[in-house]
């Protein structure tokens, strides 16, 4: 409560009052129910069985069941009408989407019928067969014919759904389209990047060991990779220096701790005190040095791995220098695409609901999904009557604190020309300042290397 007084209320209504009022109101209602329950305590069943008293609670519950059924059906209908219209069906923006939607409708048809019939029967039975003293239930153990029927019929329906589902699934997952353009979609905490091959139509190689602040996708770019090696070596040297002076630093921390305690400041500055004490303890126990050594080991492994790759000329063939790494996905209507997914830290999932497409992005494992967009962003906007509307790719696998805000815009344009003019505006990957410095065997049928200005 106190805290709510401190913050100035940004809304006109007072939220702190809001939750306490709610709790109070609900508690009062509870009390009323308790009183009602006590007052109308409908005789307990024990009495009923021994004392042969007709207890009307059965009738009452039977009636409530019917009321619930009617209101429930109205509710279902209401939901279908008012929220059903947001359900993504019949408006897919991808070619396979239509197949998907038809599969959905078949499933919906069957399940909805079963849902209505069984639920209606359930609540109707509650009403129809509620307890009466003068009636005896039917002594009825089984009926083989009936049971066979309701085993076989669902089996047939499910076989149908399975076969259809199998077809749909195979159609969606078979991605052997020769004309499909590849796009790499790269996931990280917390964002997406897309990579398009440049004019050569080829993607450059990559490795997670190459990733650095300036090279988030870990592309095999000589300059950037060498820079990373350099900075890793510097860091290792710095860490080694720390290890060398560890004894001194332990002494320093200890002295600081003693000093701090001597001055009796631990009360006034608990956070600082905690930190100092931790450092002193780590220094003493050797945890500090062990931590440093672990870091050194990790970094030198990385350096070693980079060095191994660095010797691989195929990897550093510059095919990727003209790749475009972009923060928006642009697609051309009716052009088939294969998305190649990569993730660098944890599992993410590329979810494109309008296109009925989803695929996990897994570190250390490449995954893919193919589809053909059939509706441009403009068409979707017109359809929705919302000129601001955009397609998005969302992250759909829990990946950390900002999971809920990890998305990238998808724009579907009408023709190749629009796409190309967009792509032309995007900067290529290469950092040309470093390019001349790299000792390259001039093996590529190099297009005259434009000593372009550093773009970044």
């Amino acid at each position: 409560m106190a805290a709510a007084d401190v913050v100035e209320a940004p809304q006109e209504f007072n939220p702190s009052a809001w939750d306490w009022n709610t709790i109070l109101t609900l508690s009062l209602i509870l009390l009323v129910i308790l009183v009602i329950a006590r007052a109308f305590d409908i005789g307990s069943l024990t009495e009923k069985i021994s004392g042969k008293r007709i207890v009307s609670s059965h009738k009452i519950n039977g009636w409530i069941a019917i009321v619930f059924l009617v209101l429930g059906l109205i509710g279902v209908w209401y939901e279908m009408v008012y929220h059903g219209k947001y359900v993504m069906v019949g408006n897919a923006a991808s070619e396979h989407g239509a197949t998907y939607d038809s599969m959905f409708m078949w499933t919906f048809g069957f399940t909805f019928v079963v849902f209505i019939v069984t639920e209606v029967l359930l609540f109707y039975f509650m009403f129809r067969y509620s307890y009466r003293e003068d009636r005896k239930a039917l002594y009825y153990f089984h009926n083989n014919k009936l049971e066979v029927i309701w085993t076989i019929v669902p089996a047939i329906v499910l076989t149908f759904l399975v076969l259809r589902g199998f077809n749909t699934w195979s159609k969606i997952t078979s991605s052997d389209n020769e004309d499909a353009q590849e796009i790499e979609v790269f996931a990280y905490q917390f964002g997406w990047k897309a990579r398009y091959a440049g004019a050569d139509g080829k993607f450059g190689d990559n490795s997670f060991t190459f990733i650095s602040g300036t090279n988030p996708l870990g592309l095999a770019v000589e300059g950037s990779v060498d820079e990373l090696t350099q900075s890793l070596n510097d860091e290792i040297a710095a860490l080694e220096a720390l290890v060398a002076s560890a004894d001194d630093s332990a002494a320093v921390w200890k002295a600081r701790l003693v000093n701090f305690e001597a001055q009796g400041r631990q009360r006034a500055y608990p956070e600082e005190y905690k930190k100092i004490r931790e450092m002193a303890m780590d220094a003493e126990s050797g945890a500090y040095v062990r931590g440093l050594e672990k870091e050194i080991k990790r970094k030198s492994t990385n350096v070693k791995r980079i060095a191994k790759f660095r010797a691989d000329e195929k990897m550093f063939n510059k095919a990727g220098y003209d790749d475009k790494v972009v923060t928006e996905i642009v697609l051309v209507k009716n052009q088939p695409y294969v998305f190649k997914f990569r993730a660098r830290d944890v599992i993410h999932s590329a979810y494109m609901p309008e296109f009925r497409a989803q695929m996990n992005c897994v570190p250390g494992m490449s995954t893919q999904f193919a589809f053909t967009p059939i509706k441009t962003t403009d068409e979707a906007r017109a359809e929705k009557g919302n000129p601001e509307y955009d397609y998005y790719l969302y992250c759909n696998k829990i990946c950390g604190a900002a999971h809920y805000n990890m998305k990238i815009k998808i724009t579907v344009v009408d023709n190749q020309a629009q796409y190309e003019s967009w792509l032309a505006q995007q900067a290529p990957v290469v950092a040309p300042v470093e390019a001349p410095a790299a000792p390259v065997a001039p093996e590529a049928p190099a297009a005259p290397e434009t000593p372009a200005v550093a773009i970044n």
């Binding site: 805290a3 809304q11 939750d19 308790l34 959905f104 509620s130 499910l158 250390g364």
Partner: protein, 627 residues
């Protein structure tokens, strides 16, 4: 050992006065252990529910501040706003608590413990000592899990499935630090508890049945508990393995699940060669059976309660058992339906799709059998009966959406959307919770010798039933509109704005549902002390638990000889009898064998139970000290 000898031993046992500790704390009496499981389960359930209400507040009013959040959560709720990391933590612990602590231990632990010995006519579990250990491991596990919520970096936050690498790297999110370590410790303890319990349930059912209680005369509750225990025994060890590998990856630098990782702020990690997807296979090899471990006991309880209160034999007793068996078997080979979009081979996806949809058949059989049992019954609406019928309704509603999700093609769109949340909360969450409530209301007299208040039960049922549908039904539409789950808020995506009102409706309903549970708590705890004294057989039931005296606490269940069983458990409303029930232990001297039940045609087989004691069972008996 003969019954007489057991009896004698029991008498001797009864002589000494039990201390408080051995009676209430380290009790080896299955009835007391069952109460311990129940109370712990209820407490955990309350905690899990309050967590869900807290994060539901965030979803419904993402821009508002709630003093209650600041008050309860301290630094995670500064200015009355739930921290995104802690939101994830709450969702994760909510899921973990509900799935494992309430609906696995709370449900199976309570009712398997209470009913297996009482309904098969045994003096106690096969190994009372292991049974006690089972509870205390569960208790320790609960404590560790709750402690993990309070650690400085927050509890595990990667979702209840804790997929690595997120859960393996403490730099990937704060919850993957100490909180995750404690989560793993808690789960390991939990698995130990579950295995100790399961072994006991299985051996008791196989070995300790009283005279005449052949397998085909066992109540469906027992069948359900039995299959559940088998599932747990076969699948929990796999989770243990998965968890151990995760512990190795986290603490000892192995790379079972890790490969090619670069972490912002750290750099490239050394691990190569592991596979995050491997973890998912291992996890779901438990995870899918787990949903049936949750659901089957609830279905068993429902069968018993519906038959008893419809005053009508359960329809298709054999079909019910066969479908339980079918579900149990199939549940081991469908785990891949949780992984359709992990990039696994599409052909494998097809196989999992086919197997998954096959499970729908035995499930459908069960639903139809429940309906037919109600048809032309004489339905007594006790609270237990209402909750059972509620279960059937949820089981149908939630089960049908499984047909969408089991279809690999449809799952492309629906995976991890709110449709999934709706599906599993109905079919597993609500259905199993309702089964648990049904069990509590039905067997409360057997546990405490007193009755719960019916009218409060009615209020509890109808409010909970209606609000549960209000909470979970609209979520289908959100999911179908492409709203992802595990999102801290939706306002950052313009498209999701239309769901703001729905989210408010859901949260308000959930809060009402939460308050309705106070009715239950009040009813439960007051009735323990002040409830009306129960008759010996208050529901006019056939099963043996109502023949053991309910007004005195007997370690050994029956004062004299164990009851002998003469027929199946569902002989309700026999036309040749005046009363509408016919308890299993009453010999039918005069009753003519005219009825179309196959069970009644067989003469009461005295030797049957004995004959089944094969070498294997004898060995099992010896091992568990039954001599």
């Amino acid at each position: 050992m003969s019954t007489a000898a057991l009896h004698a031993e029991h008498e001797a046992h009864h002589e000494h006065k039990e201390s408080f500790i051995s009676k209430y704390v380290f009790s080896m009496d299955h009835k007391m252990i069952s109460k311990q499981f129940l109370i712990t389960g209820i407490i955990m359930g309350m905690i899990g529910m309050i967590m869900s209400l807290l994060f539901r507040l965030q979803l419904a009013w993402p821009d508002d501040q709630f003093s209650i959040i600041e008050m309860l959560l301290g630094k995670w709720g500064v200015d009355g706003k739930l921290d995104p990391n802690f939101y994830m933590g709450l969702v994760t612990i909510h899921g973990t608590i509900m799935v494992f602590y309430v609906l696995t231990a709370g449900l199976s632990g309570t009712f398997s413990n209470l009913l297996i010995p009482l309904q098969v006519g045994a003096r106690d579990m096969a190994s009372p000592f292991m049974n006690m250990l089972s509870y205390w491991f569960f208790f320790m596990s609960s404590v560790v899990l709750l402690i993990s919520v309070g650690v400085e970096t927050g509890p595990a936050s990667g979702g209840w499935t804790v997929y690595p690498p997120l859960s393996a790297l403490d730099k990937a999110m704060p919850g993957s630090g100490l909180g995750m370590t404690l989560w793993l410790v808690a789960i390991v303890l939990f698995i130990v508890s579950s295995l100790l319990g399961g072994i006991n349930y299985i051996s008791t059912v196989l070995n300790q049945r009283t005279k005449g209680m052949s397998m085909n005369r066992m109540p469906l509750t027992i069948w359900a508990f039995f299959f559940t225990a088998v599932l747990g025994l076969l699948s929990f060890p796999v989770l243990l393995g998965a968890g151990l590998f995760l512990i190795f990856d986290r603490s000892f630098g192995t790379s079972f699940y890790l490969s090619d990782i670069y972490l912002e702020g750290v750099g490239a990690l050394e691990n190569i060669g592991g596979s995050p997807v491997l973890y998912q296979h291992l996890f779901w090899f438990l995870g899918h059976p787990e949903v049936y471990i949750i659901l089957m006991p609830a279905l068993g309880i429902t069968s018993e309660v519906i038959s008893n209160n419809a005053r009508k034999p359960i329809f298709g007793y054999t079909a019910m058992i066969i479908s339980l068996l079918g579900i149990s078997f199939l549940s081991f080979i469908v785990w891949g339906h949780h992984m359709f979009i992990t990039g696994m081979n599409p052909f494998l996806g097809s196989v999992f799709m086919i197997l998954t949809l096959i499970i729908a058949v035995p499930s459908a059989v069960k639903a139809f059998n429940y309906l037919t049992t109600l048809w032309r019954g004489n339905l007594r609406f006790t609270p237990a009966m209402l909750f059972s019928i509620g279960l059937v309704s949820f089981f149908i509603s939630g089960g049908l959406t499984g047909i969408y999700l089991g279809n690999a093609a449809l799952d492309i769109q629906m995976h991890d959307s709110y449709f999934v949340v709706a599906h599993f909360h109905l079919v597993m969450g609500s259905a199993a919770i309702f089964g648990m409530f049904a069990g509590i209301y039905h067997w409360f007299p057997r546990m405490y010798g007193r009755m719960m208040n019916n009218t409060l039960g009615y209020f509890h049922f109808w409010i909970t039933f209606i609000t549960a549908y209000l909470v979970f039904f609209p979520m289908h539409f959100m999911g179908l509109a492409g709203v992802p789950r595990r999102y801290y808020q939706f306002t950052l995506v313009e498209d999701f704005d239309v769901w703001v009102d729905v989210n408010k409706l859901i949260t308000v309903s959930a809060i009402i549902a939460g308050f309705a549970q106070l009715l239950f708590l009040y009813n439960f705890f007051i009735s323990i002390f002040r409830g009306k004294k129960s008759a010996q057989n208050p529901w006019g039931a056939n099963t043996l638990e109502w023949t053991s005296p309910i007004d005195v606490r007997l370690h050994g269940n029956w004062p004299g000889e164990l009851p002998t069983v003469y027929r199946g458990p569902y002989e309700y409303s026999r036309p040749d009898r005046e009363e509408d029930f016919f308890p299993q232990h009453i010999p039918d001297e005069s009753a003519p064998e005219v009825l179309e039940t196959e069970k009644s045609k067989k003469a009461p087989a005295e030797k049957e139970a004995e004959a089944e004691t094969s070498v294997f069972f004898a060995a099992v008996k010896r091992v568990f000290g039954l001599g």
